[in-house]
């Protein structure tokens, strides 16, 4: 049992936790919910010794402790962090057993032992990965599953998961639920952070709501509903239903992007696709289906190995040329492919604009001003837009990326899982922005595996399977069942 008592923690410019008390019990799943920047990640970092509280106390089984990450590991407190923590150049096996490589009776660790242990752990959570593959070749979702395999043991006292489903496909999420239920049966206490309240309702026993670093609610999940949680989290009602967000559309106009017989290595096998201005197309498909590759081709970030990709009537655009003509790209891996972590927030949100007009004067003060205005519209939570973007909470970093392209007149937007880790009101806001852009004539492509998101924004849904288009459904008919049936059929 882990208890936090009256814990507070500040950062320069931000008070992340104020006087929070919470208890994580063995054999129960405890959900931690709250808006972006509410302090959830900070709380679990305190509970796992990564951060020291400024004041307050941590008790493990009733004894007060001062935790370091190493103590936490010895106390069998395991953490799956929000941000991926993998050694990119090492193999899957090395990463799975990172920091606790198995040793033989001579105290030595061999490649064979490591691989066997890694396979065992991957199997335990039902994940199939080649243990010899370098992690750099894995998708974001696969890396997440890898870290799940690393974190899960049945002997754990506590298993903490910070947004573990953020980039997973529904089937993988189901698998993860299975794992969570199994470890709970072994008496492990699970702490579960998620912005998906349906997951919380389905999985958790207890919940705690954080807002602006304070505990504003909590209790038994059985005693509450999704709406109840939303009210406690945001102090108001927010709807994520198609009727309230989609708002219809215009008639699709000219062709924005045309794909003919496109191959990409062995990932795409002959895809034909038309994307028109004034429509939002969702491309749905699990890892390996080719959906992610389509996103890169559509934005000019990759070239097809065969076939033609025409962007606004022009074949073979480079990424630079595409960006200049207003093709936005929001990659799934925001830390490696999206953000300049050590540069100020305003530079990050102006990067596309700066790239488009390098031969113009620049004023840091004015850039910061613009950023503050754009940030307010998206509900960005930051102490100061001139601080490095690294200090923002995960969801707020994502908002900066979206803001970057809303700032330039993007006419074609390619968004790879745009609302990963984003709270409900901001999601609603982003969906509305996307719909407004669509109505104003932009062509929007969203790569998404989240049914609710698909329902909210899609005019058409294209389902990918094994590198080919498995089928297409109009947005209105894109129910979970319909999509699942199309994607799973083989």
């Amino acid at each position: 049992m882990i208890e936090l008592q009256n814990v507070s923690r500040s950062f320069p410019g931000a008070r992340a936790l104020t006087d929070v008390s919470v208890t994580f019990r063995p054999g129960r799943v405890h959900a931690l919910v709250g808006e972006n920047g509410a302090g959830k990640s900070t709380l679990i970092k305190v509970a796992s010794g990564v951060l020291q509280p400024d004041s307050g106390e941590i008790r493990v089984d009733g004894r007060p402790v001062r935790l370091t990450p190493r103590d936490a590991r010895e106390l069998q407190i395991r953490v799956l962090h929000q941000e991926r923590q993998v050694a990119l150049t090492r193999s899957v096996a090395d990463n799975v057993v990172l920091g606790e490589a198995p040793r033989n009776r001579f105290g030595l660790s061999g490649q064979w032992l490591v691989e066997r242990e890694a396979r065992r752990r991957l199997q335990r959570v039902g994940v199939e990965l080649d243990v010899r593959a370098p992690v750099a070749t894995l998708s974001v979702a696969q890396r997440q599953l890898l870290e799940l395999a690393r974190a899960v043991t049945f002997e754990a006292r506590c298993l903490i998961m910070d947004e573990p489903t953020a980039s997973l496909h529904p089937e993988e999420i189901e698998q993860l639920f299975e794992v969570v239920r199994r470890v709970r049966e072994h008496g492990v206490g699970v702490v579960y952070i998620s912005h998906h309240l349906s997951e919380v309702i389905a999985l958790a026993d207890d919940y705690t709501v954080l807002r602006d670093g304070r505990r504003v609610g909590g209790g038994l999940v059985a005693d509450t509903t999704t709406d109840g949680l939303v009210a406690q989290m945001f102090g108001s009602e927010v709807s994520l239903r198609r009727e309230d967000i989609h708002g219809g559309g215009t008639r699709p106009g000219d062709v924005a992007a045309r794909l003919r017989g496109v191959h990409f290595g062995r990932r795409l096998k002959g895809v034909d696709l038309d994307l028109r201005f004034g429509e939002t197309v969702v491309i749905n498909g699990p890892v390996g289906s080719g959906a992610a590759e389509l996103g890169r081709l559509l934005s000019g970030a990759a070239r097809p190995t065969a076939g033609v990709v025409e962007l606004m009537g022009e074949p073979g655009s480079t990424r630079r040329r595409a960006a200049m003509r207003g093709v936005a790209l929001i990659p799934a891996d925001r830390k490696r492919e999206g953000l300049l972590l050590d540069r100020p927030i305003h530079e990050n949100s102006e990067l596309a604009g700066d790239a488009a007009h390098p031969m113009t004067w620049y004023s840091a003060a004015r850039a910061a001003d613009r950023c503050r205005r754009g940030g307010r519209a998206l509900g960005l939570k930051a102490a100061d837009v001139r601080l490095p973007v690294r200090g923002l909470s995960g969801g707020n970093q994502q908002k900066v990326l979206i803001d970057r392209w809303l700032r330039v007149d993007a006419r074609v937007l390619v968004l790879d899982e745009p609302t990963v880790g984003i709270d409900i009101p901001s999601k609603a806001e982003i969906y509305r922005q996307l719909r407004a852009l669509t109505r104003a004539g932009a062509a929007v492509v969203v790569l998404s595996t989240e049914y609710q998101e698909i329902r909210c924004v899609a005019d058409r849904v294209i389902v990918m399977r094994d590198g080919v288009v498995a089928g297409e459904i109009p947005g209105v008919d894109a129910t979970e069942q319909a999509l699942f049936a199309l994607g799973a059929r083989s």
Binding site: E243, E337, D354, G375, P388
Partner: protein, 340 residues
């Protein structure tokens, strides 16, 4: 539903998104500058106490003139380092440009032509580096280390291994306008232009972006290859200019004139806060780095320390400065890792 573009009410109050006062980036810069200014002032005080002639206008003018070549090169190198690049060939380029200058002057070519040839040739060589780095993906360290060797040998070959004297050529570098040497004025101009480029144009932001995260910059539409080529070209041009200035200052084309200069250049830039990992640094910092180097060399000679100790003291200061920034860097990264 009607279109509602009202922002959602997240949290209770709208966040201010900015505090009063200096920007955090500016504060970081000041943290880098403060110890440098301190070193310069301390050395100045100590040396003047020992020998009051140190603080005379004539000596300061001489000090600046003697370091104008270094100063010009550091501006170029700072631009490169901020963009995550590096050029070690500048020392050899200075030698080659010096030798070319002297022999052209001896052949009776007009000054303007000589200067133009050196600048253009330097820029073209830089452009080559840029092309090779951007498209063939050769690591800048290896490429320009090779360039260093090639041009060192070229300078020796061109000059038949002996300095080419040109007592009457390029005297403008030594001339004075309103009591300031023209070489120093050129340096000042280069500083101003470099600072404008890096800090007051969006091109400069692209340079920081490429140095900070090239992949992210590329995906956002930054023309990363062109930025690199531009940086190397500008640096090559400045190296050509520095070569002319060097020849003019010493009145000869010395084929060994630039030997080892690249190390001093990188040291001064790094002292000034530029990071070899890219994405960090400023022109003002680079200038302060040059001043520290200049003060150290000069005050040592005023203090009657044999100049064989110059490199030793500089090395110690460099290690000290980098160790200080590195430890604070490590602390910062640890903190960042802890907080995600």
């Amino acid at each position: 539903m009607t279109t509602t573009d009202v922002p959602p009410e997240v949290g209770a109050a709208t966040p201010p998104l900015q505090r009063r006062g200096l920007s955090p980036l500016m504060r970081e810069h000041l943290r880098v500058y403060a110890p440098l200014v301190l070193i310069v002032v301390a050395l100045g005080v100590v040396t003047t106490a020992y020998n009051p002639a140190f603080l005379s206008g004539a000596n300061i003018g001489r000090l600046l003139a003697a370091n104008a070549v270094l100063g010009v090169l550091v501006v170029g190198q700072t631009l490169l380092l901020v963009g995550g690049q590096l050029d070690l060939s500048v020392g050899s380029l200075v030698s080659v440009a010096g030798v070319v200058t002297a022999s052209f002057v001896l052949h009776g070519l007009p000054t303007v032509v000589v200067v133009a040839v050196c600048l253009v040739a330097g820029a073209l060589i830089g452009l080559c580096w840029g092309l090779i780095v951007a498209y063939l993906k050769v690591p800048p360290f290896i490429l320009t280390l090779g360039g260093l060797a090639v041009f060192a040998s070229l300078a020796l070959t061109l000059a038949a291994s002996t300095p080419i004297p040109m007592p009457t050529g390029m005297t403008w570098v030594r001339a004075e306008v309103l009591g300031v040497r023209v070489g120093v004025i050129v340096w000042a101009l280069v500083i101003v232009l470099g600072a404008l480029l890096l800090h007051f144009t969006r091109f400069g932001r692209n340079v920081y972006a490429v140095g900070a995260n090239e992949e992210a910059a590329f995906l956002a539409g930054v023309p990363t290859a062109r930025i690199k080529m531009a940086l190397y070209s500008v640096n090559g041009l400045l190296a050509g200019l520095a070569g002319v200035m060097f020849a003019g200052r010493v009145g000869a084309g010395d084929p060994r004139g630039g030997v080892g200069l690249e190390l001093t250049v990188v040291a001064a830039a790094v002292l000034g806060g530029a990071s070899l990992a890219g994405g960090r640094g400023s022109i003002v910092g680079g200038v302060l780095g040059v001043l520290v180097v200049a003060m150290v060399t000069d005050s040592l000679s005023f203090l009657d320390v044999p100049d064989t100790y110059n490199q030793l003291v500089l090395g110690v200061i460099l290690i000290g400065a980098v160790a200080v920034t590195a430890t604070s860097e490590i602390r910062r990264i640890r903190a960042a890792r802890r907080t995600g």
